[in-house]
């Protein structure tokens, strides 16, 4: 594989996408979105609900069609071979209820004809071991707690041994305790594996805790509004990060940036309130 000068592993170039609603009105969801992900980098896409984060991730994995622009993995347009080098972790764990935990993990290997069934099984067990669930291999998904199910979702992606992980708010549906725990655990695991991750979230602290780079998106239409580098030492622990001056500065900056955007629609209301007071 030839990589270009800046060692860019995944590149999204000028991607645009519009959905048409029931009345055939076109609604632009993504407008000229570009981003680059380096080998071994953890990149978060941060933006409020509905700004097109999931849509962007789906486009990267070629799960849906798009209108303009291109997606490249290792400088190749994404096709069948490239898609096999990416693994998607869904917002809800999406486990097949008729398969055991291990069989669910194996699903992600079944299109790889070069693997024997023994190799598939070994890889699945290894992936489950990485997320600490090898004992649950023969359990049914419904027997697991939400946090465990989500970890199986991560294991399913790990088993693919992909070049890039695409994670769509993998902790979004979890309760606070479980979310914090999984952020720590999965974060440490990714750090250890030097995995490349594109991580979608709407949680600023989560993004700061995990990322090397944060891509802030604005909505209607979805655009990249700003890119932040997260210069915090690793390994990171939640409480160190929270108190770290650089993290606090970054948080402040992101929040300010978000509020500047929000101000556009807050102001008229404020003006009205002031008006009625005077």
């Amino acid at each position: 594989m030839t990589l270009n000068d800046d060692q860019c592993l995944l590149e999204v170039r000028g991607v645009s996408k519009a959905f048409s609603d029931r009345r055939h009105n076109r609604k632009v969801v993504l407008d000229n979105v570009s981003l680059k992900v380096q080998q071994g980098e953890f990149v978060s896409i941060l933006g409020k609900s509905g700004c097109g984060k999931t849509t962007l991730l789906r486009i990267i994995d070629s799960l849906i069609e798009w209108d303009e622009g291109e997606v490249l993995l290792e400088n190749q347009l994404v096709g069948k071979a490239q898609r096999q080098r990416m693994a998607f972790v869904f917002q809800d764990s999406n486990l097949l209820p008729w398969r055991s935990v291990k069989e669910n993990v194996e699903l992600n290997l079944e299109s790889m004809k070069e693997l024997s069934s023994q190799e598939r099984s070994d890889r699945a067990i290894e992936a489950l071991r990485l997320v600490g669930l090898e004992d649950a291999a023969d359990h049914a998904p419904y027997q697991l707690s939400g946090g465990m199910q989500q970890r199986v979702g991560v294991a399913r992606a790990l088993a693919r041994q992909p070049a890039v992980f695409l994670m769509d708010e993998p902790f979004g549906h979890l309760d606070n305790f479980t979310r914090e725990r999984l952020q720590q655990e999965i974060g440490a695991l990714i750090e250890r594996l030097h995995a490349t991750v594109v991580f979608v979230t709407h949680d600023i602290d989560e993004a700061i805790l995990l990322s090397d780079k944060i891509i802030l998106m604005e909505s209607d239409p979805g655009r990249v509004s700003k890119v932040f580098n997260v210069d915090l030492p690793r390994p990171r622990w939640r409480y160190n990060v929270r108190a770290h001056p650089e993290a606090m500065r970054l948080r402040e900056e992101i929040v300010t940036d978000l509020h500047l955007k929000i101000a556009d629609w807050v102001q008229p209301e404020e003006a009205m309130l002031n008006g009625s007071e005077s």
């Binding site: 990416m86 999406n94 097949l96 079944e110 299109s111 027997q143």
Partner: protein
């Protein structure tokens, strides 16, 4: 750090607790039906007592009904021929309904175009009291089992069709994206995701239909037949032979129970996740 990671992931106790809870719930289900059995006994006794004070033409008595039942099955007025005719119509009808219901259900569930075209007809036919087709069928096909089987099929197809269609849409919506991202081919998607996903819906539809075919059999035989359990019911009713009527009623009910029981068993064997998932919720 690696150590703390390993610690963080230790769920042995949580898993153990889940296993124990499951074990307990399995033990408990063993006693589930005993209440129902007692209730049946009480009702039978009540029936016997009340029946003793009334003319047998009204509600008869369990003992007399049982006696009649014995005669019909093993005594001098055996009705095995009628039972066989009824069972034949019922199961042929169910089999055809299963095939037609699944095929059309899958087509409607998979294809938005087919769904769009057929939706009004499905709604219309499903809402129509299909009994009105019976005289028509008799005119077209004659007073024999053909008309009755067609009627049974007509009745039993809908639950299967509607359930399969709904299941297909549901499963596609939930898991198609997963299949695509796993790189599954079209056939693998159908084989590994759609088919197993639709199976519990199919079995649910089949269970409802397995009850409906008994109704279809009885109704159609009452109207267009000179044999079968439905015909017997009609003729005993017109002759005020309540005890015999109830004996035939018992036989028909047993058919219904067997059908639904078999389908429940099939669901538990072939789609245990659907049953267990529901129970845990």
């Amino acid at each position: 750090m690696a150590v703390s990671l390993e610690e963080g992931f230790s769920d042995a106790t949580e898993l153990q607790a889940i296993d124990n809870a499951l074990q307990r719930s399995r033990l408990r289900t063993g006693f589930k039906y005993s209440g129902t059995l007692y209730l049946i006994l009480v009702l039978l006794v009540l029936w016997q007592i009340i029946g003793s004070f009334l003319d047998p033409i009204y509600i008869s008595k369990p003992t007399i009904v049982a006696n009649n039942l014995w005669n019909m099955l093993f005594g001098k007025t055996q009705i095995w021929h009628d039972i066989a005719v009824s069972a034949f119509e019922m199961y042929i009808g169910l089999a055809i309904a299963l095939v037609i219901g699944s095929v059309f259900g899958l087509a409607i569930g998979r294809s938005r175009i087919i769904r769009g075209i057929t939706a009004p007809y499905v709604v219309f036919l499903n809402a129509t009291p299909l009994v009105i087709t019976l005289p028509l069928l008799a005119i077209w096909l004659g007073v024999d089992e053909k008309a009755r089987i067609v009627f049974i099929v007509l009745l039993a197809t809908w639950p299967i069709l509607l359930n399969v269609a709904a299941g297909c849409r549901n499963v596609s919506g939930r898991f198609t994206e997963l299949g695509h991202s796993a790189g599954l081919s079209r056939t693998d998607l159908i084989r590994k995701i759609i088919s197993p996903g639709v199976l519990p819906y199919f079995l649910t539809g089949a269970r409802i239909s397995a009850g409906l075919v008994v109704i279809g059999m009885v109704v159609s035989e009452m109207e267009v037949s000179l044999v079968g359990l439905g015909y017997l019911l009609a003729s005993y009713a017109s002759g005020f032979q309540t005890s015999k009527l109830l004996a035939v009623f018992v036989i028909s009910t047993v058919f219904g129970l067997i059908n639904v029981g078999l389908l429940s068993l099939a669901t538990r064997t072939w789609a245990p996740w659907a049953v267990l998932e529901r129970k845990e919720r």
